[in-house]
Subunit: 181 residues, 2 copies
Amino acid sequence: MSMLDRRVQKSQKAIKNAFIELMSEKSFDNITIQDISDRANVGRRTIYDHYMDKFDLLDKLIEEHINELRNLCESTADMSFVEGNLMWFEYFERNYSFFSTMLKSKGAPTFRIHFLKLVIEELEGEVDVTEGKNKGLSKSLILNFFGAAIVETVEAWIANGLSEPTQVVAEQVGILLDRNF
Amino acid sequence: MSMLDRRVQKSQKAIKNAFIELMSEKSFDNITIQDISDRANVGRRTIYDHYMDKFDLLDKLIEEHINELRNLCESTADMSFVEGNLMWFEYFERNYSFFSTMLKSKGAPTFRIHFLKLVIEELEGEVDVTEGKNKGLSKSLILNFFGAAIVETVEAWIANGLSEPTQVVAEQVGILLDRNF
DNA sequence: CTTATTTCGTGCGTTATTGCACAAGTTAAT
DNA sequence: ATTAACTTGTGCAATAACGCACGAAATAAG
């Protein structure tokens, strides 16, 4: 994983950060490769060595975070929602600038879709409609219901500039989930 | 000047910054090339591509700032001390972390010497002992006198964490110099 | 519409950085 | 005193980033 050349890591990091910065300043469409190259202090050519175009860059960026979150799920598999949520929300907090720009920017509604999809996928293993409190209910309905609820909560929390303490939000959402699964 | 390869600039900057950071944490003697390489996130080999050893690195760093200050003097040659001092003290402010660590660190008393030497050199063209208020006085005595005064003032100002506003210090020192030259 | 200006995407040769390996010198611990 | 762990300085081949130049495509200006 971390066997990547140091130069690659640094270039990609600089490019991604520059891109996120620019996303918070102007719309996706108005960002040029030139802009990114200038801001990242990296040769324009270098960007093409790593990404096809700015769409590819955005895709990779999104995919990366989705994967990170998926990995996070594995390590929290044996925790309660209250515990696991803390890890999730701390991740959001750590990557605030990314999620903030991605969730509000109109240029990238793509992200919300991917994000919701991930949440539902990861929630899938937790719901049981054959017995317990959810017996007889529609599995897909439950998944959509709580998936959207989670995404929307995160979105609002971030849009408000993380005004609520991370622990509090994580715990409360955790309580609601523990109660329903 | 800025025709240097982007990579060189970035590497050297990272190395210098890492070095300054480390200087504020431990004594010069206890800093290893390994440390610098780790902190700068640069291959150990790269450091040797630019510097002989850590002494050379320190020298280059000092020399660089001394040169910057010397250049600054040229551009302020036709100003009064009050005006010119503002440029100087703003430079100190901009490079606070450097001056702070260099002036307090016991591992690098070298810097104080170079610094004083520069101040005296640049002051030399301003003093006239053949006529005016300093007629008959010893030129070298005057230079040492005010040179040390300036250096000490800067040192104290920086040691106090820039507690006094830059403009105020610059102006007051300027007044004292304008009065005596 | 026509003309600048800018951005794009790519090919190319050059250069800087990298990671590794090695022998030699330091430092610390037991 | 001896081992172990770490640092140093250097050689080397591989490769990432560089800067440049180019024609094509898109965008803005007159």
